[in-house]
Each structure stands twice: as C-alpha cells, then as structure tokens.
C-alpha cells in the first residue's frame, strides 16, 4: 500500500490559525470549548487524582477526603470481577481470561485465519468451560449459579457468538434460498427476533422456556440466558452475513456451477469464504453490541459484571462511592469495545485497500 503523502508541516501559530481561529465563528467555538475544558478538567482532576484515596483505606478515610474513593475498588475488585465464584478458586476464571486474551490476540492476525484457528478456538472454549466448572483433575465443581462478573459476561458473549455464527450462516443462506418455504421461515425468524427487544427474549427464556420443556426437565438460569442470547445474535449476524453474500457477484455462483460443484460445495469453497471476509467488519460491530448487551442479563438476576458491581456497592459502608464503581466497570467495557471498534475500522481499510489494487 502506498503511503499517503505527508501533509505540509505547519508552524505552531499557523496551525492554531488554521484549526482553531480561522474565522470569527470558529474563534467563538474555540473559546467556548476552552471555557468548558477549563471549567470541567481541573475539578475532574482534583476528584479523580489529586484528592482521591488510593490503595487500601477505611471508608471513613474516604468520607473525609474530597476526591474519589478508589479504595472502594481496592476493597471490592474481586467481587466486581468474579462475582460469587468461590474466593479460593478465583485463579481459575483468571486463567480462563488469560486464555481468552491469548486467543483474541492470535485471532487479530489475519494470516492466522483458517480452519486451524477455528479448531484452536473450539479447544480453548472447551478448556475454559472445564476450568470454570471443574469437577475433574482435582478441581472442585463450581455450579453455573456461582459464576459471575467479567468471566460470565465474556462467556455469554463468546459462547453466544460461537454458536450463533454457524446458525446465522444457515439463516442467511436460507433467506436467499430459491425454496419459498425455507426463505419465508428464515425471514420470519429474522424479522421476529429483530423486531423485539433483547429483554423480552430474556424474559421469554427465563419464564417461558421452562414451560416448553417436558415436565420434570429444567435448565439453569445461565443456560436460559445463553439460549436467549444465541437466538438473538443469530438473527443479527444472519443479516450481516447476508450483506456479505449480496456483495458476491453472480459470476462467482455461475463459475462454481460451471465447474460442477454442488450447492454446498460452492457455498463452502467459493461463496462463503468471500462473503464472510466482506462481512467481518459488520460482524465485529455485532460482537461489540453483543458484549454490551449481555449486561441486560443483570435484569433477570444473573451476576454479570454490571450486577456484581451493583452488589459490591450495595454494601452500606461503601454505598456512597457508587460513582467510582460505575467508572471502574465503564472503563472495562470501554477498553474492550474501543479496542474492537478500532480493529474493525482497521479491517475495513485493509479490505478496501485490497479491493482498490
């Protein structure tokens, strides 16, 4: 890729004039912005840094200080991050998180994309779940209802996506099928799910799903929420994949047909690899949305990151420092989502430059 020519270097004064004071309306806006910053930044700095209480400290120390009480986070971070998972076993979810970060790191490299990576993901997810559940190799068994915090949020997201993605490919293909019955069934499913809020699906999973199962069979709450998340994300992913499919020129289908490939051979070897590559930025965006949306399981009382934080600040001693709690988990969400959205933008420019050549 040819690098864009470097912009002409401006002196500091010239830069100021061009970017901040080019005409009177810009000058007014700049002064207004500066005024806002001057009013907002110093108090924010005083609160968050200068007058804040860092490290371990008593709630009374925090009460006396005028700034933020980061001691609350210091006191409660294990509860916020891991929920009610047994305290002594919390290295297991931590190890799981490390595994996940390593896998995500590997997957960011476009050259690694392929069947191998998918297999590695399968193995990693299995290992992760095994770590969380235990019950083998001397690990004590930890039931689903004790899972919580960041690992629960991530499991709901990643497992949800891992199962919803293959499902969504079938839905997307079905929606473009030439068989009217299949086309209508897929279309009805997608429109139905996309027309209702996720929270109604979560309610459906937690109140209606038990009724639909044979008498005596029951599934636990984490699994119910997971089912709702899978059903929900499959519909949205299907639309992203369909977008990718639509971008594939007709000639590709015809060429595959001319080579004597069957429908499924053509899809698997010719159409889908191209369509999914086109759809990946959209898929990453859905991933970001899903990661944020898993916080809704807090409404059906699953202790995800958000609810774990709310339980931490329910402690009467620390209740007044709720803003710190919100800032802490907002930062976690922000870092993950920001990283993913930047990555999706990077991919988009990569694909675009690939097409321009």
């Amino acid at each position: 890729m040819a690098a864009a020519p470097a912009p002409p270097r401006l002196g500091a004064v010239a830069w100021l004039r061009a970017n901040l004071f080019s005409n009177w309306s810009n000058t007014v806006l700049t002064l207004l912005g500066l005024f806002l910053l001057v009013r907002a930044l110093p108090p924010l700095f005083d609160w968050g840094v200068a007058h804040a209480v860092w490290g371990a400290a008593d709630p009374d120390v925090c009460k006396a200080a005028s700034g933020a009480c980061w001691a609350m986070i210091h006191e409660k971070y294990r509860l916020i991050l891991f929920g009610r998972y047994p305290y002594a076993e919390q290295w297991r979810p931590l190890l799981g998180l490390v595994l996940l970060v390593v896998m995500i790191g590997l997957s960011c490299n476009r050259n690694a994309w392929g069947l191998r990576l998918a297999e590695a993901w399968g193995a990693a997810l299995a290992a992760w779940l095994l770590l969380m559940w235990g019950g083998v190799a001397g690990l004590t068994f930890v039931p689903n209802n004790l899972w919580g915090g960041l690992p629960l949020t991530l499991i709901l997201t990643v497992i949800g996506l891992a199962i919803a993605f293959p499902l969504s490919i079938f839905l997307a293909l079905g929606r473009r099928s030439r068989m009217p019955v299949i086309r209508i069934l897929c279309r009805v499913y997608i429109e139905l799910i996309r027309g209702v809020p996720l929270i109604s699906l979560l309610f459906m999973a937690s109140f209606m799903l038990p009724l639909f199962l044979p008498t005596g069979v029951s599934i636990d709450e984490v699994l119910r929420a997971q089912v709702a998340i899978i059903l929900f994300s499959a519909a949205y992913l299907a639309e992203a994949v369909r977008g990718g499919l639509q971008a594939i020129p007709k000639g590709q289908h015809e060429a595959a047909h001319a080579l004597g490939l069957s429908y499924w051979q053509a899809q698997r070897k010719i159409i889908l690899p191209q369509a999914i590559a086109v759809a990946i930025p959209a898929i990453v965006n859905i991933f970001i949305g899903l990661f944020k949306d898993t916080s809704l399981v807090a409404i059906v009382s699953l202790t995800d990151l958000l609810l774990a934080m709310r339980q931490a600040i329910a402690d009467p001693q620390w209740r007044r420092f709720f803003v710190e709690g919100y800032v802490f988990i907002a930062l976690i969400y922000f870092v993950v989502c920001f990283f993913m959205s930047k990555y999706s933008q990077y991919l988009e420019t990569q694909f675009r430059s690939g097409q321009q050549r």
Partner: protein
C-alpha cells in the same frame, strides 16, 4: 463410459423439482412438529401447575399501582388498561427521545466535521465514550446520580424561574387550562396543513418561472399566526401554574419523575452518538466533486450545504437512522431496570401476579413487533419517496 447422447430418464427422487419440494416439506414438518411438541409440553406443564390460560385475565382487576400514567389509572382498573398505560409510557419516552436524539445527533455529527480542531476532538470524545459503554450501565448511572447526588426536594435547585430540579424529578410551570387552548391547537394543525400546501405551490411556481419564492417567513406566519390570533381574541390568557414549595413537597405545575428523566437522558445521549456517526458518514459519503461544483457555481458554503450536500446526504443517512429510532424504541424496554412503568415493566408485574407467562410475554412481544414493523413500513415509504429518480 456413458455416451452423452443416451441420457437415462431421471428417476423421480433425483428430479430436482421433486427434491426441492421434499426439502421444503421436511423443513415445514420439522418446524410444525417442534411447535406442536412445545405446545403439548406447555399445556401439560400449565395443567400440572394449575395455571389458567387464555387472555381472559386482561379484563380482571389488576390490583397494582403504576407510578406515572398519561391516562387515568388506579389499582382497581383492569390488566388490559394497565397494558395500555405501559404502551403509552413506552411511546411517550420513545417519541420524545427520538426528537431530542435527532437534534443532538445532527449537531454532534456536524461538529465532528467542523474545521475547528477542538470542536472535532470534543465531539469525538463524546461519541467514543458513549458508544462504548453499555446503555444499561449508563441508565443505572443517571438514575443513581439523579436520586443520589441531586439535592432533596427541600433544597431543589432552581434552574430557571419556576423550574426546579431535585431528587424527585423536574418541576416546571404549566399554563392554566383555558377554554381558548383547544381552538389554538385546532388552528395550529390547520396552519401546518396550509403551510404544507403553500410549500407545494411555491415549488411548482419555482419550477414554472425559475423565481425562488420566499418560503420560511410565510410558512412560519401560516403556522404560528392563527394560534396567536386565537390567543389574542380569547383574551391573551397568561396564567401559569407555577410549582410552589409547600411544607413537604411542591404543589402545582407539571413534573417529570426521576425515572423518566434518567431513562430519557440515557436513551437520548446513547442514541444521539450513533445518529451523529450516521450523519457524519452520510455527509462524508457525498462525493467531493459535489461541494467543489457548488463552490464553482458561486454558492456560499451554507447554501451549498443546504441545497447540494444535505439532500444527497439525507438519502444515505435516513436508513441507518431509522434503525437507530427502532433501537431507541426497543432500548426503552430497559426502563424496567430503573422502575419506569413502561410496557415491559407492566408485563413483568402482571406476569408475576397472574402467573400467565405465555400470555403476558406474547402481548409484550406483539406490541413491540407491531410498532417496529409499522415504523419500518412508514420509513420504507419515505425512503422510496426520496430515492434517486434517474431520468
């Protein structure tokens, strides 16, 4: 070797039309079978737990109170009426939210394209922060801030004369009802119709003669003039019902609950960030040549924006913005988490009271589906109306 000229007649199970029909029949049977299985399970379970079925409960007495309502409602009213209250509350916050989110979103989107470095940075800071944090977290945050950090009713902050903000919400003056008000509303609607008609005539005249008739002032006159005349004729009533603090609480005026306020703030700020991105993307997608050509024709920057850039950008901006409107409406369901009595919250309460999960959740999903589908139908019609007509 099979010689190509002697093709054996295709056996019927290899016939493609037969196969397609077979696949579809199997798919349909599978779906119907699964449905029947679930229904029979549900019937058995309901029977075992002796839960009543059917929508008869809608006419029974609800027995729960609802915090705020547009129409009169109390605990002795029916479940059906409670649902209507819930739907109206959902629509109220969604409509107001859509209007405010559009205003802020367009402003921020333009700000991100400004030539002012500082304005661009501030706008991006806002967009990036708000978009990357879950909406539910933001709603909880606003709700805890409003109910936890704002002063109590006793020490309510006075924002403007007669407008107070406190833990218990926003209090503001309302005009005292006057017999002239309905007439003012009526002539306002008529005025809007007249202005629309005038706009059509002006456009036809412009196409016929090339002259650009004045549009803004006459339309404003048509819209605002008649209500003003009616107001003057009916004796210019200026009486305002101003909230006054009496012993424990405010009396008079209008008020907005903290739940509504935090839900509205959360939804508007969140959706505005997405709309801002749509606006920015739409304007950037208009080819550079268009603004250069407009400049070459001697149009001023603002005129070029209004007549050349925006009409083209709008075409790109509207579809994704519609889906943001739908998202806002669906996201208003998070109200249940902070106790605003929207549709989900009413459905949840009646589910817990009546035990009729299937009916309660079906009504809830049915209502959302109806609203979503009708908005998308309306937007598709609008989309087609402004689509590029090539000659």
């Amino acid at each position: 070797m099979v010689s190509p000229t002697t093709l054996a007649p295709v056996v019927f199970w290899r016939n493609q039309r037969f196969r397609l029909a077979l696949y579809q029949a199997v798919a349909l049977l599978l779906v119907i079978g699964a449905g029947a299985y679930f229904v029979s399970n549900a019937l058995a379970n309901l029977d075992e737990r002796s839960i009543r079925t059917g929508f008869g409960f809608l006419s029974r007495e609800a027995g729960f109170r609802i915090g705020e309502s547009i129409i009169p409602y109390d605990a002795s009213n029916s479940y059906g009426r409670a649902y209507v209250v819930g739907v109206l509350n959902t629509l109220r916050v969604s409509l107001l939210g859509i209007v405010l989110a559009t205003l802020i979103g367009v402003l921020v989107g333009m700000a991100r394209l400004s030539s002012n470095w500082l304005v661009v940075r501030l706008a991006s800071l806002y967009v990036e922060t708000v978009r990357n944090v879950p909406l539910l977290l933001q709603l909880f945050f606003w709700y805890t801030v409003i109910t936890g950090l704002l002063p109590s009713v006793r020490q309510a902050t006075q924002l403007l004369p007669g407008v107070y903000l406190s833990k218990s919400g926003l209090m503001f003056p309302a005009p005292v009802p006057h017999p002239g008000h309905p007439y003012m509303a009526a002539v306002f609607v008529i005025g809007c119709g007249l202005a629309w008609g005038y706009r059509g005539r002006a456009r036809r005249r412009q196409e016929a003669t090339g002259q650009v008739p004045k549009l803004l002032l006459p339309s404003l006159g048509l819209i605002l003039g008649p209500p003003l005349v009616v107001w003057l004729v009916s004796g210019a009533p200026t009486a305002l019902d101003v909230p006054v603090f009496t012993r424990f609480t405010f009396r008079g005026g209008n008020s907005i609950t903290p739940e509504f306020l935090s839900l509205l703030a959360g939804l508007v700020l969140y959706t505005a960030a997405f709309i801002a991105e749509n606006v920015r993307g739409g304007i950037q997608a208009v080819p550079r040549g268009q603004s250069e050509a407009a400049a070459a024709l001697g149009l001023r920057r603002t005129t070029a924006l209004r007549l050349v850039i925006l009409p083209q950008a709008l075409r790109i901006v509207i579809p994704p913005t519609t889906s943001q409107y739908l998202n806002l409406m669906k996201n208003s369901s998070l109200a249940v988490a902070i106790g605003y009595p929207d549709l989900v919250s009413v459905a949840n309460t009646s589910l817990n009271q009546s035990g009729q999960a299937i009916e309660c959740i079906s009504i809830m999903m049915g209502v959302y589906l109806t609203i979503s589908l009708s908005i998308s139908v309306v937007m598709n019609v609008y989309d087609r109306a402004i689509a590029l007509v090539e000659r």
